[in-house]
Assembly symmetry: C2
């Protein structure tokens, strides 16, 4: 009981404001609060591309998500635990999540075979693509059975076997504030039968994960469930009911989101009503700017996506007044453009450098190029999320949404 009480003190989700289904909350973790809706920056191997932990904090990043699958393979949870845990190892003092590896198993299996991501055809900049790239060298099939997943390590070629229990143990030892259980991601091309079977396996694994989580020494961590069910209404409802009936600390929405953005919106509309109001909702792996308004308006609190940092590396930068909110800095029209990337942005990049200089850095392949672009995109996302939280609190979320989406 003492232990539960301690967790309760460390973790809580407080609803601060609602505007329609859009909501502002405060998710308290042992490493500080996360004000939601919040973007979760992706730090697959423990770092957000080019940025130091100190810099992330300065850019307004509240929470980052690392990947226990990749960290297990390299450098291994033994080493990270020995170095004082993941927070200490990577120098990040704020809230930290770890993903389980379910999506990576999907990327390696069905996703790779079918060439698709969470929405088919593959979403530009979506993490499936990146994960598949890491798997180029992998050999041997992915075998999913009732017990877990078997696959070949891309690090040393050895066969690995993940079970729900082992994944929880790995995440326990990594020590992130919020952890996710092993799930089986399905492809948008999988049929009803395949999606249903994977969902039932995910439920079984989730129950085992929860049991393992509750039986292991509590280190002030929270466990989120991951709702599956693809783009099938009854499966999504079944999965959402399954999870909300169990005592998870929050709920993620994973797996396939259909074949279009409209499908994704429908998935949220099926799932959200089944989830408790007083728990956090995390949409996994989604986050183009035009998506953010749609998912927040449907009651999502957290979402993560590699897109802002991934596109930054190749010179694509967020700008409010641009087609799909992006410019490609290598375009010749920026050759002698003395303006900052976004005239209304006060990030360190926009405060100090011109578009012409940034273009020069990309053309000369300077490492600083990706870094200045990443700084801008990360700050831009955080700034947008601050605007969204303010708008919800002031009951003008729809006006802000219209202001942004009318510009596309």
């Amino acid at each position: 009981m003492d232990c539960d009480y301690y967790v309760l003190l460390m973790f809580s989700f407080e609803l601060i404001a609602k505007d329609g289904e859009a909501r502002v909350g405060k998710l308290t973790t042992p490493h500080g609060p996360i004000y939601t809706p919040s973007f979760v920056s992706v730090a697959t191997h423990g770092t957000v591309n080019t940025l130091s932990a100190h810099e992330l904090h300065g850019l307004g990043v509240q929470v980052i998500i690392a990947n226990s699958f990749h960290l297990h393979l390299k450098p291994g949870e033994d080493l990270i635990e020995k170095m004082g845990g993941l927070h200490r190892f990577i120098g990040w003092e704020g809230p930290l999540m770890t993903d389980s590896g379910g999506f990576q198993v999907f990327s390696l299996g069905a996703g790779k075979r079918q060439g698709v991501g969470k929405i088919a055809p593959i979403f530009p900049g979506e993490s499936a693509h990146e994960s598949r790239l890491s798997w180029r060298d992998s050999r041997g099939p992915v075998r999913v059975d009732g017990d877990g997943v078997e696959f070949t390590s891309y690090v040393d070629g050895s066969r690995k076997h993940f079970t729900p229990e082992r994944v929880i143990e790995t995440e326990r030892r990594l020590g992130a504030d919020i952890i996710l259980p092993l799930d089986e991601c399905t492809s948008p091309l999988d049929d009803y039968r395949q999606t249903g079977a994977a969902m039932r396996r995910t439920h079984d694994w989730a129950a085992r994960s929860l049991r393992e989580f509750e039986s292991s020494a509590n280190k002030g961590q929270a466990l989120f469930g991951i709702v599956q069910g693809g783009a099938f209404a009854d499966l999504r409802e079944e999965s959402a009911s399954f999870f909300s009936a169990r005592d998870f600390d929050g709920y993620a929405i994973g797996g396939s989101l259909g074949r279009s953005k409209e499908d994704m919106h429908r998935v949220l509309e099926w799932v959200i009503p089944f989830l408790p109001q007083d728990k956090t909702r995390h949409l996994l792996g989604i986050g183009e700017i035009e998506d953010i308004f749609e998912i927040v308006s449907r009651g999502v609190d957290l979402f993560d996506c590699v897109l802002p940092t991934k596109i930054a590396r190749t010179g694509t930068l967020f700008v409010k007044e641009a087609h799909r909110f992006r410019i490609h800095i290598l375009n010749t029209r920026f050759r002698d453009d003395p303006l900052p990337v976004d005239a209304r942005c006060d990030c360190p990049t926009c405060s100090n450098y011109s578009r012409a200089y940034l273009r020069h850095l990309f053309l000369t392949k300077e490492a600083l190029a990706a870094r200045l672009a990443t700084v801008h995109n990360v700050y831009f996302m955080e700034s947008l999320m601050r605007q969204i939280r303010s708008a919800i609190k002031e009951q003008r979320f729809d006006a802000l949404k219209d202001e942004w989406l009318s510009a596309i």
Copy 2:
């Protein structure tokens, strides 16, 4: 006269202390002072690998050197002038130098043919190597004649013709505080006759550069001469006499420095006595840690080298108590090493991260790896230079030198 007086106010070199031939000075420029001896960080295309201008300043960097040859080819001085000059373009508010391209012409010509740098065999981490890499795609021979240099641009394949006057004009438009004239670098494998001919051509070009410099509108820039003469005592003396008799604002020592470090020391001993005490002396392209003590003890004030940033990119980091002052972080002995790179260093990398984490970043090919390593190496050099300046002022330079060199 007003104009000269203005330059005098903007540029001055004041000798603050001497300990043997080692000296501490203050070189005043329109963009602030440089306390010497000082390392000059190399920013070939206008940026020091991975670091922002703001960060360079924070690490204690006093002065950086860009390359007018590379900047002329990409993005061109037209654009940079239009963007408000090089300082403004790259966001660096401190003292700034531009090199002329003489060394790049050497790299492309004799250096490439013979596979050598400033000291033969090629110096590890020496800039010749890097410059040659940029030239892989170049076609067509380098032709040096009395008028200047003709070569093929690696950017667009066009034939380019550099004259001493055009190089000064390019550097005028870039607007660095200290500029260097076009010179002809020789190889350590060139014989006495070839080295002498190149030296005489360099003298002719230097006189033309000075004339062009004095006739063009003064923008508060200083022009340094570049002493040539290879590893031949009489040529070096002749060249040093030639330059010291002319009104350059400072003197660089360029070209071949022989076949060994001892040869390099001898070159300095031949040249330095001919140079005026009240002008700055810059040794071009040299700067391994063990060299620094030797060159400072012979009266050199400035030196530049790509080594600290170049080796950082591949995981080689400066440590005082290590063989040749470096460790390679990928070595397995650092796998679970919780200590910072150098326990006595207070740079941002050593203050926040372990060797184990840095090794993990290199192994996972994170862009942050090169950056954290570069931060450390740049700071380490600046910290060493501060120690050297203090030691000279306190008449204990030899003791400091012994303390460091006995550790090799």
